[in-house]
Symmetry: C2
Subunit: 193 residues, 2 copies
């Protein structure tokens, strides 16, 4: 599995029914251009930090065979949606998750073991937005900071993985420890979590 | 070196002269009780995220010999001080850094390789505050969320390490990639960085 597909899986959850909850429009939600092309939020580094991983992969073969340098993954969410989740354990409509990939370094400066984060090497997004037929969409940003929604087989694998393996709606809350506690308290975890 | 000393080093930087800069008082700065005992900021997880490491150590021997589980370290700073740094490449008076230690897990849920963050196992702080003779202080929180400033040999090792090995003032900006770029642009990196 290539990095794009793997990482799309890292971000990519089922069409979630909001039942009777009110979907509020949020001010720091997604911005689009030319239809449904997502604009990278300029201030996403100042959004709420959900968690980091190092060298995470969902593919057993890649885990064993990979000789690629291990990447850190940092996940951020827009503040108003974070606030909504803290209140309800669910994601409001117009929630944006940014997944940042960074190289890592080990023996540098004073550090003698372990890894720390260095330069940015990739940016992806998952958006919950009722404007999309599925209610969720996935994006991989290039240099220009604008990305169309993934389509075809790529998004199909996102949707499958984010449907079958996620703890809350289509999001990997099992990897965001502070949110996991909130979802447990609010009773919004899927069965098995 | 025990974890406390090692992690104090992770946070711990020289008495920095602000020269002609104005030191503004910040609203989200440190709160103290019973003199100089620092109160853990209740909302530090909603502060600005600076960077994560996994299994970082500054002690060569520990790096080779340790069989302890690898911990993630997440660093957060109060938003108004972050804003000050983005403008100047320097830290305002009354800046608070929170260093969070979390356990890690590997093969769990859908993940097959690499590590992700789990439960909280430790919290420390570094504060820049002119109320302290040195201008900086270091704290290790216990269960009660209140910590006195470190003293004696422990803080001496903090100060030594944060004087000799830090990129900006007494802070390990070399491990916070977005801030490193800002400090480079603003010309506030120490020689050698």
């Amino acid at each position: 599995m290539n990095r794009l597909a793997m990482t799309a899986m890292l971000l990519c959850t089922p069409v979630f029914s909001w039942g009777g909850l009110t979907q509020t429009t949020v001010s720091d939600g997604p911005e689009y251009t030319d239809g449904n092309n997502l604009v990278l939020p300029a201030d996403y580094r100042e959004w709420m930090f959900l968690g980091s991983g190092l060298g995470m992969t969902y593919d057993p073969a890649e885990g064993v065979q990979s000789t690629a340098p291990q990447l850190f993954t940092n996940v951020f969410v827009n503040p108003s949606s974070y606030s909504g989740f803290m209140d309800t354990g669910r994601w409001p409509d117009r929630t944006v998750f940014i997944l940042e990939f960074r190289n890592s370094d080990g023996e540098a400066s004073i550090n003698r073991a372990g890894r720390f984060q260095t330069n940015l090497v990739g940016l992806e997004a998952e958006v919950k937005d009722s404007r999309f037929p599925d209610g969720w969409a996935y994006f991989n940003f290039g240099e220009d900071g604008v990305a169309p929604p993934l389509t075809g087989n790529v998004v199909a694998s996102c949707i499958e993985c984010h449907t079958e393996h996620t703890a809350v709606e289509r999001t990997f809350v099992q990897f965001y420890p502070t949110l996991l506690e909130v979802a447990r308290e609010k009773g919004t975890l899927k069965p098995g979590f």
